[in-house]
């Protein structure tokens, strides 16, 4: 992508992503509420919450957790920008991985029982989905012959036709990333947790808002990755991503939270197996 376009695309992504994910979040909360027999909050509640948090007084435990919060925010936004300007998907996966590391380190930077356990469980979550994500990108290479995202747009064959099992495995990743049951183990998006608030227990006010914003960028990143599975025309991909998001919400209200050991087993035994089979079949036919 040309440099001028890249800058424009990056800025648009940085501005639009929070708006889009905020709106999706609003839909999520209302639909979940209705499915649970409640009325639910106003549609724009996520934005109200965000602004309210930004306006609160700064309360911290120590300054180390703030550094890592900035790191999480910066690297999440950076990953989204890199994906939108059609850069190397593998490197982008490493970047979002480091964003997750920053979040975990922020939680682990305070001597707090809930925060610490949340941080360790965040590491277990990363251990569950990282291999799937990394192997999936190699699958994208096998399908398209390049790691750059623009190669996906250049080809008319939709990625989902070549990597259907990888797509299913990525739904597992999406569930973990969105922190939906059964994988809302380190922290959860709603107020049902067993570790107070897990990873974000010791964050409040503006820095909680910063982390929320980082999480929105992260969500946009995974949804964009899913939409790449039908890149020509892209509106089908966007539709697929939207349907995936809605189905995540459905899974969330119907499943209970499981243990991290179950998550690890399912991710590796099911997710990695699906990716491995897909890669094996694809590489066999590529010969």
């Amino acid at each position: 992508m040309e440099f001028g376009y890249a800058i424009l695309a990056g800025i648009i992504a940085l501005v639009a992503a929070p708006i889009i994910v905020g709106l999706l979040s609003g839909i999520d909360r209302i639909l979940t509420a209705r499915l649970q027999g409640r009325v639910g909050p106003p549609f724009l509640q996520p934005f109200y919450d965000l602004f309210k948090l930004f306006g609160k007084e700064l309360i911290v435990v120590n300054h180390f957790q703030l550094i890592w919060a900035w790191g999480f925010f910066g690297f999440s936004a950076a990953s989204l920008v890199l994906l939108v300007v059609q850069q190397d998907i593998l490197l982008v996966v490493f970047t979002i991985g480091f964003a997750g590391i920053c979040l975990a380190l922020g939680a682990l930077s305070v001597k707090s029982p809930y925060s610490y356990l949340g941080g360790i469980r965040e590491l277990m979550q990363m251990l569950s989905y990282e291999p799937i994500l990394l192997a999936s990108v190699i699958g994208i290479y096998l399908a398209k012959g390049s790691y750059m995202a623009d190669a996906i747009f250049a080809d008319t064959t939709p990625l989902i036709a070549q990597l259907p099992l990888v797509f299913v495995a990525l739904l597992i990743v999406l569930t973990i990333k969105l922190r939906k049951s059964p994988f809302d183990i380190a922290t959860s998006h709603h107020a049902h947790q067993e570790l107070i608030k897990g990873v974000t227990t010791e964050y409040s006010g503006p820095y909680l808002a910063l982390i929320e914003l980082g999480h929105w960028y992260e969500t946009m990143f995974v949804l964009t990755l899913i939409s790449l599975f039908w890149a020509n025309p892209i509106w089908i991909g966007i539709l697929i991503a939207f349907v995936a998001f809605l189905s995540e919400m459905l899974i969330d209200v119907t499943w209970a939270r499981m243990t991290w050991r179950w998550m690890l087993r399912v991710s590796w035994a099911v997710g990695l197996a699906l990716v491995a089979i897909n890669l094996a079949v694809l590489s066999f036919f590529e010969r």
Partner: protein, 646 residues
Amino acid sequence: MTDTFLVGFLILFPFLSAFIAWLTPSHSARTGWVWITAAAMIVASVMLMISGPTTIMIENSEGLSTLIGILDLLLLVFFLYVGIQAKSLVITLLTVAQLLPFIWLEWLSGAHHEVDPTFIVDPLAIIMVLVISVVGSVICVYATRYMKEHEDHLHLQKSRRPRFMFYMIFFLGAMNGLVLANNLLWMYFFWEVTTLICYMLILHDLTPIAITNARRALWMNLIGGIAFVVALIVASTQFETLSLRELATEHTGEALLLVPIFLLGLAGFTKAAQTPFHSWLLGAMVAPTPVSALLHSSTMVKAGVYLVLRLAPGFEGTAFSALVAIFGGFVLLMTAIMAMSQSNAKKVLAYSTIGNLGLIILCAGINTPLSIAAGIMLVMFHAVSKAILFMVVGAIESKIGSRDIEDMEGLCAVNPALTGILVIGVISMLAPPFGVLVGKWAVMEAAGTTMFGSISFIVVLLLALGSAVTVVFWIKWMARVMCAMPETCECKKEKLPAAYNVSLWGLATLVCVLSVIAAPVVTGLIVPAVSSWYGTQAGITSTAGLNLDFTIGAAPIIFLSIIAFAFLLIPALVIKVKKSAVRPVYLCGENIDYAAAWHGLADGRFDLSVGGFYFTRVLGEEKMNYLAIYIGAAIITIAMAIALFL
């Protein structure tokens, strides 16, 4: 002319300098001499890089070769003496098994092949010399201060520091000789010198466990030595050559070539402590920390993977290559799993080192120009990062008296400078844009392009899993270090001694700068290294804007460096919290003593304590060790079968 002088200087000056250091009785004079040596070595290696690739042929080297042969013989006789004195059957038998073939090869086999050229100063050798001379010299400077504190802690009557510095500095010369030599007999000599120095340095403290572990290191490396000699015999008789370059590049595809290559590879595996030979490196952690930093992470173990990388063109495109890749991937995953259960910081670093060496061997196994370039990149960046980590762990151990991760809890509030360097060290192993991660990214890209059909996804899975597990054990450690109480007091700024400041901050700065300029380093040094040995381009197109561009992918290093600078470095330096903003952690409102304890069962006082996760029930070292040894040995056996019979 100057190139010959530089090569001679880089090999021989450390030998001379070591003797001077040994014979200097005054500690401060010796320390000053070490600083001078370090400066000289760094300057010489940079000059070698600037003067560029060349080859050096030493005319009429019969005399020198004979001298080296005699010194080799004395070395092996010394090992025999060690074995007899220790009443160790293993060491004695292994030495004899090495001595007899060596005597045959050196004096009884007849034709002594002229090796042309004697030394090859190609870009890969230049990179290795830079790593050895720069990182090694910095570690020697660190060692001057560390050993003083070490001996103070031990209340030694008679200082053993002269002896220590002798071996450390001598080692630099031996390593330089090893990586510059093209004559395999000369390389073998330097190889065995490093084995000797490794043995001498591990047993430095003369405790029973040090002596035991030194002997274990010795016999495992002797296995490698035997493999080396037998490989030389095969090369000499079957292929009439003792030139590394000729063996690796000019006989590809010939029958029986895989035999010396497998044997040399086995020597490399023992030197690099790959499974099943990994226990000697774990045991070597009882040595003083500069030894661990210099020998057992940055340089000596790199000699093993250096040799495997050199040999890679020889087994390109064979089933043997696929097996080497799987072996490397297995070591990566296995050692990452084993590191999860360790609370001894140096053992975590040791396992991580072995894993990264496995990753480099995986690069050699994938055997495309891109993967070899990734391997060289990993050699360089891992050496710097690991040196930082070992040195800072040594400094921390001096400060708190323990190398256990559990004792490092909350270190960031007590020792912010050391913690900062520790964090930089760990982040430089994990994060974009640092070199180790970029190297890992490059090898993963190369793994996708592998030509050996449907088993390439085994390599991909091993890489993906290994990569994910390494993150967990690093961050688990960081968790303990960062686990700080509420910030109610001012962090007192501790002052580090000059030697620590120079070595730690120097290498920390180096890793950051080197990572930012990784693209020019790759195109300037690494791509020529691959091209000159492989004869093909490395599939790297341009470095426009200081970003790495491959034909299949790109790394926007500058962009990521800016992000890291803006969102990690700046906040780390700038963010301060007001006392009024600090609150205790959430303990359900039952806090006692601010945040130190809480009202628990029956309103009793429970002190808040946080502990690390070590998964010892599932991932205990005993169980994992069996898996590591048996599966590792199995893969090597299969590789040997392929080498012999296919």
